[in-house]
Subunit: 400 residues, 2 copies
Amino acid sequence: MLQKVGVFEPASKDELLGRIENLRQLMENAGIDYALIIQNVDCFYFSGTMQKGMLVIPLDQDPMIFVEKGAERAAMETPLELTPIKNDKEIKKILSDKHILKGMAGLEFDVIPVSVFERLKRVVGFDRCKDVSELIKETRIIKSSFELAQVRKSGEMLSRVFEKAHNVVQEGKTELEIEAALVAEGRRIGHQGFLRMRGLNQEMMVSTVQAGYTGTISTMVDGAITGTGVTPAMPQGSSLKKVERGVPVTIDYGGAYNGYITDETRSFVVGELQDVFRRPYETARSIIEDVMTYGRAGINCTEIFYRAYEIVKKEGLEEYFLGHGDGKVVFIGHGLGLEINELPVITARHSRILQEGMVFAFEPKFVLPPYGAIGIEVDFIVRADCLERVTVNSIDIVTL
Amino acid sequence: MLQKVGVFEPASKDELLGRIENLRQLMENAGIDYALIIQNVDCFYFSGTMQKGMLVIPLDQDPMIFVEKGAERAAMETPLELTPIKNDKEIKKILSDKHILKGMAGLEFDVIPVSVFERLKRVVGFDRCKDVSELIKETRIIKSSFELAQVRKSGEMLSRVFEKAHNVVQEGKTELEIEAALVAEGRRIGHQGFLRMRGLNQEMMVSTVQAGYTGTISTMVDGAITGTGVTPAMPQGSSLKKVERGVPVTIDYGGAYNGYITDETRSFVVGELQDVFRRPYETARSIIEDVMTYGRAGINCTEIFYRAYEIVKKEGLEEYFLGHGDGKVVFIGHGLGLEINELPVITARHSRILQEGMVFAFEPKFVLPPYGAIGIEVDFIVRADCLERVTVNSIDIVTL
């Protein structure tokens, strides 16, 4: 029944058991005997469903998916066995009978609030516990072929939206009008509705359109061009600023198909691009063209960052690269998957070798106060011998 | 500059200091000497800005707003004094010099992840701490006249969207098409972009449209009609189900103006409403008409719940009221403000006397598998002698 009304393309049983096995190997090395997983995205990743409950993955017994609410739907979503429960107090007896609770528990310390943790300790009754969230992130960093198929479909959605943008950006339109039309376009073709970003206070708009000085205001959001938004209660995103002739409009958009996020940016301009933006735009473009000549599995993320930085330095644009003033960010790329802030991070700060199946957004952007901002963002799937793009649109600035 | 592009209607200094004073009184009774607040919404509520940093509210010294990123913007947003810092390690020395750290700290245990808590303990260096989140929720439950003005403007936005819906709902259109058009309409007139829901795994669409059996599928979401969504990765919201003649379409929509959320539902039908939905619809309507005859400050929320339940029982519709099977919820209303799950909760489970300035959504809804769902939701501001509605639209089912 649900297949008729949406994108119910489930992961297979083998796929899910493979993910669980990958996590178990990391757990064993870390001395964790069982993982107690409650965050919705992590539950979905390992079980195929995020209905209310808890996923328990012991090292040497079958995983258990406890479901408190939405059990009927969960049964349609996962090929794995479910354990319906009335409330989470039943979990203690079941785990205790299986002698699981004596071992070291692994919990998602990066997302479980203190009061939920305290309650779990009481209700589930574990004694010893460690953080399992880094291990989960490491498991999720390599996408399976099933996941890459979802990423590519998410990229197709994004391609259609950027194509549509050619007819939407116009002189005198507000950033909000452009965003509204493009978000509606994505949603009509099956966009899941919003993007997920892991961690406290991490919020991300589906799309941010900026059309001038609104792109130069720095905010709490960890991005180079985050937009001004319409209120201090939501200090990011599009605003009532209108498109002006010669001033670039950047459209940052997150596709989201069956959970998988893609995230690209294109620049548009009505009439002739003002001089101040030309060299920054060409530099952004050179950085992307460069990474596509050598990027592949085996390359260190720090190398990618430094090589981009060298191109920027040669042009003398360091001051404006990846933000300006306290709005500068330290990364030029970030991993993508079920969340928009996955591993790897492309930065000078962390050494990390690219491996086949990683997916990341790459975003050379320039912020030029008080004029505006310009840049390009494209997503790559890491392959043995190259980087594969997920959209078909040109990275050229679109002149209208 | 920012005023030109959005809804930058800031709370005044007196307003913010009044909120802080209200919290201090509760802190004093609870034995908390200073609050360390880091969740974005709570920071915004007490300081007017949610740029990256931390808000410290001691019982007997001035509040301190530490800002790590977006300091320039924060200065435009808050009338209170800021303390720009390079990173949060500077906070320890400042608090220590003021002899603040010796006392009992209050932290938002309901939202701070375990790893953030552990880091704060190390970096800020407090010894003793308690949960301050219940006190913050109690402070936020009574809206000031400034806040009520924002709620009313949020209601105006909602009124415009429901008016627009008359021209959008049509036989053969998908739920997603209807939602996309209405979300775009709200955004163009300044909707902040998304709705906030407090706590782990709490996610809420701006709008959910359901047009038949998709409204009967129960999900993890704590609501009676939550929609099917388009993927198990986002198991809520609108889907590709099309509008059929005679089957009600419910449109649940969250207005959001300058932070403040409103949340109402209307039912629409193309042609003549099928018999099975008639009595449920009339019952929902009677419940709303009834509460408007007696609702006011001084009434207990449990009384409101029981009185509605009596009306449902008289019609023999208990099985379908507020959901069906494991999708049943235990509340008929919930508080509104900067988050969509604020206090008060209108339920049999918690006694709570309504006070002037509370704001809540009231939602008698029926789920009738396998046919569909129907219901009405309206928002009320509690006044001394009545309940004030926030939208101007009729609660009548709209026949198209």
